[in-house]
Symmetry: C2
Subunit: 154 residues, 2 copies
Amino acid sequence: MVSCHEQFMRLAVSKAELGIGRGQTPFGACIVRNEKVIACQHNLVWQDIDITAHAEIAAIREACRKLNSIDLSGCTIYSTTEPCPMCFTAIHWAKISRIVYGTSIEDAKRFGFSELLISNSDMKRSGNSDIEIIPGCLESECLRLFEISKSKPY
Amino acid sequence: MVSCHEQFMRLAVSKAELGIGRGQTPFGACIVRNEKVIACQHNLVWQDIDITAHAEIAAIREACRKLNSIDLSGCTIYSTTEPCPMCFTAIHWAKISRIVYGTSIEDAKRFGFSELLISNSDMKRSGNSDIEIIPGCLESECLRLFEISKSKPY
């Protein structure tokens, strides 16, 4: 049986694959409320020449636009990789209730991304946030994204 | 004698004042490279209905657009308030070399903003970042921004 979480994470993985095909870095994110997909984006940093355009930030912007609101309470964000501290904090500002992620920030670092090695659980503890965090969803599929993007010229 | 830092911070303060007049929250940021202003923005969250559009993020986006680059090495960012962890990490991603700020995240919290109380020096230490941080620039002018925005209906 495929869990709800896996179903939505699979959308984020597909979006990341699309992004890789377009020369973007291998990250996808999907925002869901009441089992309904509100936004789904891949990383757009190179496409938009915007260093802030991580998949999560792009998805949050899309969700704000679509809902005409800056309050995303009750939403879950599915990220192929554990959100970096920029994205974690954006998720906090947006009042998103839950993060579900695949691979970890440490995995991303291992594949050459210049991460600030501060985990979501550290951010949650230090910042006294009450967001729910579910790691390791479809981890091997998410890890594969790094593998298939390794040969890309960026 | 007005220091270089104060001169550029004053631009960020003026931008924040403009934002307050437009119903935005009281924050401004200015990005400078080689004594030349690259970008200057106030918070745009309510204007753009984009929860990620803090002054620093908006300024980084503007700088990336203007320089047609995601690499802002050698730049200094002047923020009227200590950048939140979202903005700090965006500054890290953009390779900005130095943060100069006025008031602290704790000040913002005191004025009702739902901050994650993780200071820039904590982020720097935890993330092993080598960014230079200069606090307290034009602190009283920056504090005044909170005061004059208190009566605004948001």
